[in-house]
Symmetry: C2
Subunit: 513 residues, 2 copies
């Protein structure tokens, strides 16, 4: 058994069942091994950012890593942006990156580069395999590192000769450790702090339904607030779950939201900071003098910690009633972000997975869908745009019996539009709604915030997406995905209904006024 086969047997025995790949010559033995080792589905992405973003989406929904298979330094580099998002989501991902044969590296052939330097910023674990016999053990170490709570990216550089030479068969993989149990002192301190001017800030696993119910019990008993961090990996939500505030994006609003909070209790979240630094505004968002308590760090069991906290404050055993199921009325008339969000929330199927890269057009859907039928809501954790279409692809691969609603900004979507092809090839149930406002709207807002009231021609050229307008339906059709353009909320509602009825991917270009 060669190194490549030994590596994939190792991964399969650890539960890996998906490999998102765009291989090249240096990965051919691993490609062949995908046929020799049963049980690992090989899915092609036409750009590596599709592979890494899909691995992120898959792991967010399953809790298990997928493999990516990438081609040397440049191929890995194309996947970095979405690995950055995965790192911020603390998603387990295992990247196998082919490299030249060990004896060929000194030749400095055209594709040679420093892969470790490229990988380190987005990988909790980086290793270069030295021999075929060490490869299965290295794969096992990468898997263990990725799954170590709170989860992270692991990158293994695999020279081609380590794939094709004889190895000794698979290596054992350590069963990943469970998240660390809650710390009794932290629970006691949080219980002490919890009062009417306290807030629980939830992130990571605290945003499961179980975590939210326990948070609502604890906070309800003391009149404290429960707030979700601004961007999270995966949130369960919808009818029956308690209400949850969301920390605003812009620092002025976030500072205002936290102004009166004297005790901020972090549960799977980190001390909140501004997304960007602005002149005259602080980095930290908690009020000056606010005491910050860590009930559970991202590697600890946030759900158990919240339940322990609820018990410690002698909360009633049942969480407060959540909102009853209530769909908002769909919007009407010419589309804008508001009626777009209402119309999407009105039509959201039960069990849907919402992937929100709607940028400036995304918030209304979040607000309108709080009491929609139960669903999951995934966000852009690392700010690296082009995450939506790949993440939606991975979520659909993870959950083939659920509909994925991919709410996508047009500027961001152009980064990784190739994901649509994978959705078509794999017949994935993804409905992509492109918020076509024909601009990098957030940058137009930021220009205004920077005091540039009337942008000049260069600033306009760099933030405007007209001349020419993108035709998203043509782009989708070019990759085998049927598309439809809508300009009113009524047309959108009909297009959504048609999409949710039919299996397979579909794109709706929602032209925003």
């Amino acid at each position: 058994m060669n190194g490549a086969e030994s590596a994939l047997h190792t991964a399969r025995a650890a539960g890996i069942d998906l490999c998102l790949a765009n291989p090249g010559t240096t990965e051919m033995p691993l490609v062949a091994a995908l046929d020799a080792v049963p049980g690992i589905r090989a899915v092609l992405g036409l750009f590596e950012g599709v592979c890494t973003g899909a691995a992120d989406g898959y792991a967010r929904m399953t809790g298990r890593p997928a493999l990516t298979l990438l081609h040397l330094g440049p191929g890995f580099a194309n996947g970095i942006a979405n690995l950055h998002n995965a790192r911020r989501a603390r998603t387990p991902v295992v990247n196998l990156v082919g490299d030249h044969a060990t004896w060929h590296l000194d030749a400095d052939a055209p594709l040679t580069s420093d892969i470790v330097s490229l990988a380190s910023p987005v990988s909790a674990f980086v290793r270069t395999t030295r021999t075929a016999r060490e490869l299965p053990g290295d794969v096992a170490a990468a898997l263990a590192a990725a799954c170590e709570p709170p989860g992270g990216g692991a990158t293994l550089v695999v020279p081609a000769d380590c794939q094709w030479e004889e190895a000794g068969g698979p290596a054992p993989v350590a069963v990943p450790g469970a998240p660390a149990a809650p710390d009794a002192d932290a629970v006691a301190a949080a219980a002490e702090a919890l009062g009417e001017r306290a807030a629980l800030l939830l992130g990571g696993a605290a945003l499961s339904a179980r975590g939210q119910r326990a948070a609502a019990r604890a906070a309800g008993a003391r009149g404290a607030r429960v707030i979700a961090e601004t961007f999270w990996s995966r949130m369960e939500r919808g009818a029956g779950l308690p209400a949850l505030e969301r920390l605003p994006y812009f620092p002025e609003q976030a500072l205002e939201s936290l102004r009166a909070v004297t005790d901020l209790v972090l549960v799977g979240a980190t001390d909140p900071v501004a997304f960007f630094g602005y002149p005259g505004l602080p980095s930290r968002l908690a009020a000056e003098g606010c005491r910050v308590h860590v009930l559970a760090d991202p590697a600890q069991d946030a759900e158990a910690a919240l339940e322990a906290l609820a018990d410690a404050v002698e909360a009633p055993p049942r969480a407060p009633e959540g909102a009853p199921a209530e769909r908002p009325a769909p919007g009407s008339g010419a589309l804008d972000p508001g009626n777009l969000g209402a119309t999407l929330a009105a039509g959201l199927p039960e069990g849907a997975i919402v992937v929100d890269e709607g940028a400036t057009s995304g918030l209304p859907l979040y607000l309108a869908s709080a009491a929609a039928p139960p669903h999951d809501f995934l966000t852009l954790t690392g700010g690296a745009i082009g995450q939506g279409p790949p993440c939606a692809t991975g979520a659909a691969l993870a959950c083939p019996d659920r509909r994925v609603l991919s709410l996508q900004a047009d500027g961001s979507g152009m980064y990784t539009l190739q994901a649509l092809w994978t959705q078509a090839r794999e017949s994935l149930d993804v409905t992509t709604v492109v918020c076509a406002n024909r601009s990098y709207r957030i940058l137009q807002i930021e220009l205004g915030r920077a005091g540039i009231a009337e942008p000049g021609p260069s600033a306009r050229a760099l933030t405007d997406l007209t001349h020419p307008e993108l035709d998203w339906c043509a782009l989708a059709r070019g990759m085998g995905v049927p598309g439809e353009r809508v300009e009113t909320a009524e047309e959108l509602a009909r297009a959504l209904e048609a999409s949710f009825r039919e299996p397979g991917p579909r794109l709706v270009e929602a032209v925003l006024g």
Copy 2:
């Protein structure tokens, strides 16, 4: 004057006139400065790989760097693959990468990452600016480093506060040094070595018309061969220039080509090595015992060195007559790479710039166009696919009065198809011919070379681009570029003629049987 304005005044005074940008919030002061500082054209790419690849193409044709303006680590990462190609082409490129305000870095906000670690593998110069007042000097240092022969990538990380705070105005930029003069001993040694079993291997500036003529004089006087390296940055060619061999891509053929060469004289090229390492084949391509002589390394003046060599071997002052202008007959019937190449060569306009990322479909055009009207020929130097559409975009920005023929493999083209939008927005005279063989054909060949006679379903899935087929005309139309599908050489000839007659971009999807 703030840091951003001081930086751009510095660049403008050094001759910079183009900035290929995809900025974000941390680059807003530089965006505003593009309006405040006249003379630097701002061109938007809808993905950073478009910006970096276009900067490569622009500098290959002008000899001068363009700026790129990129957004933090993830935005830079999206540009790495084409910076890798630029590095291998030894192209001067200057990247300005925004970062968080210096005082915001410790907050580890979502977009924070180690930009220097990402930049180092593709940059001869990396620096992080510390204060606004140091920014113009840092820009001057980056420009000088990029232009230092043989040319390279320079990456400057510019925190947002260094852009928006007051600075002292522009800094002086050192005039770039000329390439080092030829070494008299090296000329003498090469003259000594030149004989019937010797070969000149040309790369870099040696592939100019002047360099080729001098090489032909020198080699002709001694019966030596003249060979071009396999992949080069820019070659002048066509009718009137002496014939030039090209070192084959696959190592078996390259070894055979060099088997009888006892003295290999490198002129702007490096000691040739195999593109990939294969079992049982060596890394180095020169025969065992072959003496390798460096007439000019890539930082030396290759043209002057070749002229000195020609004089040293007492060559006649005029180069041997090149081939007379002779267009091949266009092909006929159903398209394959052979008649595709012939038909393109038959229609090639004088002064065209050919950007060849045709991969397995590219070689016939090169072979058929040797005596076509004078043109330039640019190739994929670093093996990082997705170079063609951006490089063609940059070449067209550099040379608005010339037609660019972008010969593009379908698999590679999907990596950076967003470049078509920039071609439409800027009304660039680029004719893209997509070689639609519906596969990663090179990988199917490599599977065969690896002994996998009958690929299994995974290997087929990862190398095949059908199910669904890409519709390149729809993709082009989606970005404002008119497209046409052709299936025969006659249809291709008509489509080319129409494209060359009309200004602006056009795409021809050439379906290969």
